[in-house]
Structure formats: C-alpha cells, structure tokens
Symmetry: C2
Subunit: 426 residues, 2 copies
C-alpha cells in the first residue's frame, strides 16, 4: 500500500519516524508493506526524524490527491478549512482513502466527508483526532458497537489538564501557571483553543457522532474554558473531596443529546479525577458493556502518529467500513438538549464584603430561584473586607443557577463576578 | 450474516439477549443484519433472555459447524478440549468464522486454530476471552499495532480482585472472605481457576501472543495465586503506600519474554492499584504510544456478550485479518525469560519467635544471599511469642530471594512459612 503524507510537522514527522523504523513489523501486521511514496510540506530543508530517500517531494499537497501511485493520503496539515479540507475532498473524490488527525475538520465537515468516502468506496479514518493514544474512536466504532451508549465523558485536552494539575499541586493562580506552561512549551503562544475548551469541543463533537449515530455538531456544544478559575476553586474542590477538571460530556437525554465542555468538580473516586498532567481520559457507558475507562496520552508526535499508523494498518487490511460506524446517510441530525434544562449540583463562590445581612441576601436569592442549598460556608472573617461565601446546591436546573448568578451580581455586597462550577456526581 | 450459538449459559444467553434487543442497531453498525439461525445447548427448557422464535435447535453442537446456512459459529461452551475444541476446528475446517470467549482454548490451542482459520479464509476472534469489557485484544491487534510493545500488565481476574479488595477494606483473612464470596455467588464452588491464577494466566498467554507476535505459551507462565496472603500483608502494603493485586505481567526482556501471574504490591500512584472490586484493568506500554491504561468489567453476561457481538460486527464488516494480528505462520515460538533471573524488589514477612539473635540470623541470611535490605521492621513486642519481622529489599534477583526463603525456613526461630510478595515499581 502506497501512501502520501501532507504536512511534515510534529504529526507528519512522527508518522515518517514510525514508517522508517518499523517497516517489517507494520508489513506483518498490515498484511502488506506500507510504503511512503510521496510527501508534501512547506519547508523542504527542515531536519526530520526518518528516511525520505526515494520518496517523491511535492510542492503542492493537492498533487498527493492526484497521484495515481498513491492509495492513501495522510492529512497532517491541520485547520478546518483551506488546504486540509480541499486535499481530503480531492483525495476521496479520486477514490483514495484518507487518514487524518484533524479534529476541527472532522468536527465541522465529518458527515459530508464520510458520505463522500462511502460514495467512492474509500475509507476515512481519524483515530488520532481524539485523545491520540487512547483508542476511543475504534472503541465506539467497533469494540463497544454492541451497546446503546448512554454517556461518554472525560478529559480531552492535555494542556488545560496540565494547567489544572499544576494549579492544584502548587496552589497558584491560572494566569501564573499558564505563563509558565507557555515558557515550557506545554501551551501555545495563543492558548485559546486549549484553555477555552474549543479543542476539547471539536473532539467531543466527533465522539457524539460515533456514540449516538448523529452528524457531528460542534455548534451545539455548550463550551466554557478554565480562564475564570482561581486557586480558590481548586482549594475548595479539595475540601469537597473533588478535583477540578475541564470535562467534556456527551449524553443521551429525553430531550436530545447534551454536549458540554466546562470545568467541573469531579469526585476523587471517579477514575477521571485521577487523570493528571498532560494525560487524557475517557469513560464510555452503555447497557451491556456497563462502563469502560481509558487513560493515555492525548497529543504529541508519538501517540498521534501511533494512532495514524493504526488507521493505516486497518485500511491496508481492507477495512472500508463507514467512518462513523454506520452508513453516512443513516447519521441523524443532532437534536441538542437545551443547557438551560441541564440538571445537576453546583458550586458557587461569591466574593463579598463581610457585613451583616450578606448571607441573608444571598440565601434569599437562592430561595427565590427555587434552589436548595446543600452546604454554605464563609471562610475568613475580616469585617468590612472581601471574603468568599461558598455554597453547594442540591440537584437543580441550570437556568435556576443562571438566575441566581445574575441576581447575585446585582448585589452591592458582591464585589466580583461569582464563580459557578458544576459538580459531577457520576 | 447468519450465526449459530453453541452454549446458552451466561455468555451465550447474553449474546442472544443483545441480538434480540438491538437488531436494527447491529445491522446499521455491521452493514447487514446479524441473524440467529440456530442454537445448541444442553437444556432446551431453561428460561433465556431473548427471542428464540424461528431459530433452529440442534441437539448436537457439531451440527452448527456443518450447517451450510450458518456463516459464523459462536462458541460459548467453554473448556480447552472436548466439544468446544472439536466444534471450533470443525467450523473453521468448513470455512466458517468463529467467535469465542474461551480463554483456555485459545491459550492452549490458539496458534493452531489461527493457522487453520487463515488456511480456510475464515476469521477467528476472541475479544471476550480477555477482560471482556476492555477492548484489549482489539487494542493489541489494531489500535496499538504501530508500536513495538514492551510490556502489558494488569488485573485480569475479577474474582480474586474482589477478594483482595474486600480483604483490604475489612482487614479480614483470605479464607473468610473467600467463603463469603462463594456464598454471594462471586466465587465458584471450586474457586481454584480464579484464586490460583490459572484464569489470569490463560488470558496473559493470549496477550503475550498479541503483543509480541508469539504462539500463546501457557505452560511458560510463572503462576502463583492469592491463597497464601493474610490480612497482615494487606496491612503492610498499606504502610508501604501500596495495594496488593493479583498482577499479570508479560514483558520483553533481553533473555526472552517474562510472563508471570502473582500477587504484587502495586504503588497507589499506579492506575492499576485503583482498579477495585470485580473490575479488570490493563496497561499497555510501547515506544510511540507511551502508555495506555484501560479499566472495565472483566466478566459477566453483559460485557462478555458485548465483546462477542463486537467481534461479530467486525466479521460482518468483512474483517478476515489474522487472529493474532500477524499471519499464523509468522508467530514465533516463545522464548521464556527464566523467572530465577527476574529482577525486582521484594517484601518478605517472617513469623518468628521474639527472642535475642533472630534479627541477626535473618540479616545474615540476606547478606549471604547478596540481598540488600531497604527497610526492616518488627511489629509488636511479645518476648517468647510470635511476632512478624517484615522487610523490603533493594532490587535483587528472584533466585537470591528464593535462597533467602529456603534458608529462613530452616531457622528454628521462624515459626511459619515466610510470605514473599514482589513489589512492582512500575
């Protein structure tokens, strides 16, 4: 099987590295040699971890899609539009199979690309797009396919998990830890995709599609990042026996599919709470299976390339089954469950001035919203100065908590925006 | 695709249940309907969880292997010989694919059966044979196939893990907890397969074959069970920041493949230490992947049937790739690394009489064997009565520890057999 790689950065370079080192092993496992026929990348002179001798070099990625010698195109360019999308479409159009790590592309255009692949008898594979070193795409496509999946949840972004882990361990604030992570190369100069939950949401859209047989619908996801968290939240989480994680959750409800990415307090007994540093973790729940939890590396050259080459092996073995596990034409439009109607328990911290009547005002707002308080504590006493009122609720509806936050913000005794964190009782 | 199920006990009944409930879902995921054409079981009148209307009933399982209407035989009889083996061979001989949960059969005869399947162009699949709800077979066959795997370790037997978990939580002794587990139906009347490590070893033999491209070699596995553990070991493990687990490990060493099943102290920081109750957990380590940990249900009707039906879906999609991921003729004979040469750290508890000179005798034996002591403690003081001397070692060779145990048993001050537990520093 002859392949072409478009993009020789971290991911493409990793694939080149595996192909160069493990040729015999891959041939045995794939049933035939996987040969690198051509590559395309911007910088021809960069040093790469692998052997490019005898490999054709194309200045234009599209040439890979048109090259009749190539059976499979590996797209490692990135981005949900532009060259990456054109390349994938063109390769599929020409009947070539495509393997990609491009989560944004699949989250945005996965259904259409899957349909095109099926029409042309080609495979479209993207194991590396979600939690690279964890075989969650294969899990949902195949291993767990005998079950009606009810929920998938986990940690899908290593950068934000690293930041939260360091915040927890060192008790430092978000901005401080982010700056350090950037200096160490663990976070991008523009960290928004990672810390604002967008990267995790791209991955969640793909998991929803695989789990529930729907078209990926990135825009239907409720997304919050971790910027608003302070060391205080991490400290209180500890008091409640929880860790704070940037959680991605998709689940089937009576009103549709609830997809959300946001910081959450996760009880330490939940395996996902134990996923620390740059690791990712995912839990799949469904009828006969009950539950399966997986933990591993979510990014980096090695694990991402490992997932891409696994896809290549499956394609070499002849697998042309539908990209999302069921025929593209059978994928339903996703009916989103409104986030306003989400039911759960909540943590709320209100930075207030310490004066008589403050607690009465706050508890009045909760009463009026119909929210029942589970615990309420005020740490520190400094009359006339800022202290934090921290409370947790019994199960209630999201819209009620939004009403509470809005009205609390209007109180003169509340000195800064309230911090609301969902508590997951998995 | 038409299938026949041989054996309608827990496992076969579970498959019947899934097929009866999820027909449409399975057809969408498999690309065509999976129809139950015939079954065979001893007791025709038992109540079963599913629909047998219009399904042919065969008194003899062999009839399924000979029935020209049947494409795939599900073997759910069990046992590494007799009817199960004859049925699988006959079905493959007739060109039918086979899906089985039979770990003993695959551990003993997997290489030959895989060769037969390939010769006949049929698939042989056994995801359910190892840690049912955890897709570890698919992982090693496909998802992790781009890597040279260096080690696989984990908890592969739920019954013994349940007993160890209860022993740890309740501080009760082995025999007591086993009796309770039997009364509750969590352990068999004859619990030997589970608690003596045989079941875990069957599964480990299969994982070795998948991970390292060798023929399964059950007889090469060093197997110890959990019978010799007392509440004392669980208590000391806690003191050392560990949990005791019946660990199954297979790894590539310079001297061959080291396969072992035995109780081990696992540091609490290792995800496998957090796998409690009847759950199973497996960690795969290899070059590019780094590490992936999976946790889930290892047995029971639901998870086992879920794994079997996942295999059926793959077969329906057309997958005929080799059973162990590489062609059967390429599977090497396993070269076992001698357990005597195993290197590790150890826990040793010696029930001794509390009198002067005992510690000098013991430390002399360790010195003579060339074993370096990391810590030594003697709990309780009761001159003239039994106390425990507990020690941990620095890294040493297994043969040296055996020498220590043998010589210590000869001391008149040692009142009962020493308890040796390996400490895993993963």
């Amino acid at each position: 099987m002859k392949i072409g790689i478009a993009g020789l950065g971290t991911v493409g370079g990793g694939v080149l590295d595996i192909l160069s080192r493990h040729g015999d092993l891959l041939a045995a496992r794939a049933g035939r040699p996987i040969e690198l026929a051509a590559v395309s990348a911007r910088n021809r002179d960069a040093k790469r971890p692998g052997n490019l001798e005898g490999v054709a070099w194309e200045g234009n990625a599209h040439a890979l899609a048109d090259d009749p010698r190539i059976d499979v195109v590996v797209e490692a360019i990135g981005g949900d539009n532009g060259v990456a999308k054109e390349l994938v479409e063109r390769a599929l159009q020409n009947g070539k199979s495509v393997v990609t790590a491009n989560k944004a592309l699949i989250a945005r255009h996965g259904a259409g690309l899957a349909a095109l692949a099926e029409e042309k008898g080609a495979a479209l594979r993207f194991e590396a797009a979600v939690a690279a070193g964890i075989p969650i795409v294969a899990g949902l496509r195949s291993s767990f396919a005998a079950n009606r999946i009810s929920r998938v949840h986990g940690i899908l972004n290593g950068t934000s998990n690293y930041i939260l882990t360091v915040m927890e361990e060192t008790r430092r604030d978000f901005a401080d830890v982010l700056a350090e992570a950037q200096a160490l190369g663990y976070a991008e100069a523009d960290p928004s995709f990672d810390i604002d939950g967008i990267d995790a949401a791209h991955k969640l859209a793909i998991l929803s599609a695989l789990a529930f047989g729907v078209k990926p619908d990135f825009d239907a996801i409720h997304v919050e990042g971790i910027r608003s968290l302070s060391a205080a939240e991490l400290r209180y989480a500890e008091e409640f026996g929880c860790r704070i994680k940037l959680l991605a959750v998709t689940r089937l409800t009576d009103e549709g599919i609830e997809q959300r990415v946001h910081p959450a307090m996760v009880p330490k007994g939940n395996p996902i709470a134990g996923v620390s540093g740059v690791l990712n973790g995912v839990t799949v729940e469904g009828g006969f299976l009950d539950k399966c939890v997986m933990e591993g590396r979510g990014a980096g050259a090695g694990p991402t390339a490992s997932a891409i080459v696994a896809d290549l092996i499956e394609v070499a073995r002849g697998d042309r089954s539908p990209a999302f596990g069921i025929p593209a034409k059978a994928l339903q439009d996703l009916v989103p469950a409104p986030m306003d109607r989400h039911k759960g328990t909540y943590y709320l911290r209100l930075p207030v001035i310490d004066r008589p009547g403050v607690l009465a005002d706050i508890s009045g707002i909760l009463r009026d919203a119909g929210v029942s308080i589970e615990s309420l504590l005020q740490h520190g006493r400094a009359p006339g100065e800022e202290v934090s009122v921290v409370l947790t609720t019994h199960e209630t509806e999201e819209r009620r908590m939004r009403q509470v936050v809005e009205r609390a913000e209007g109180l003169s005794s509340v000195l800064a925006p309230p911090v609301l964190v969902r508590i997951e009782q998995f």
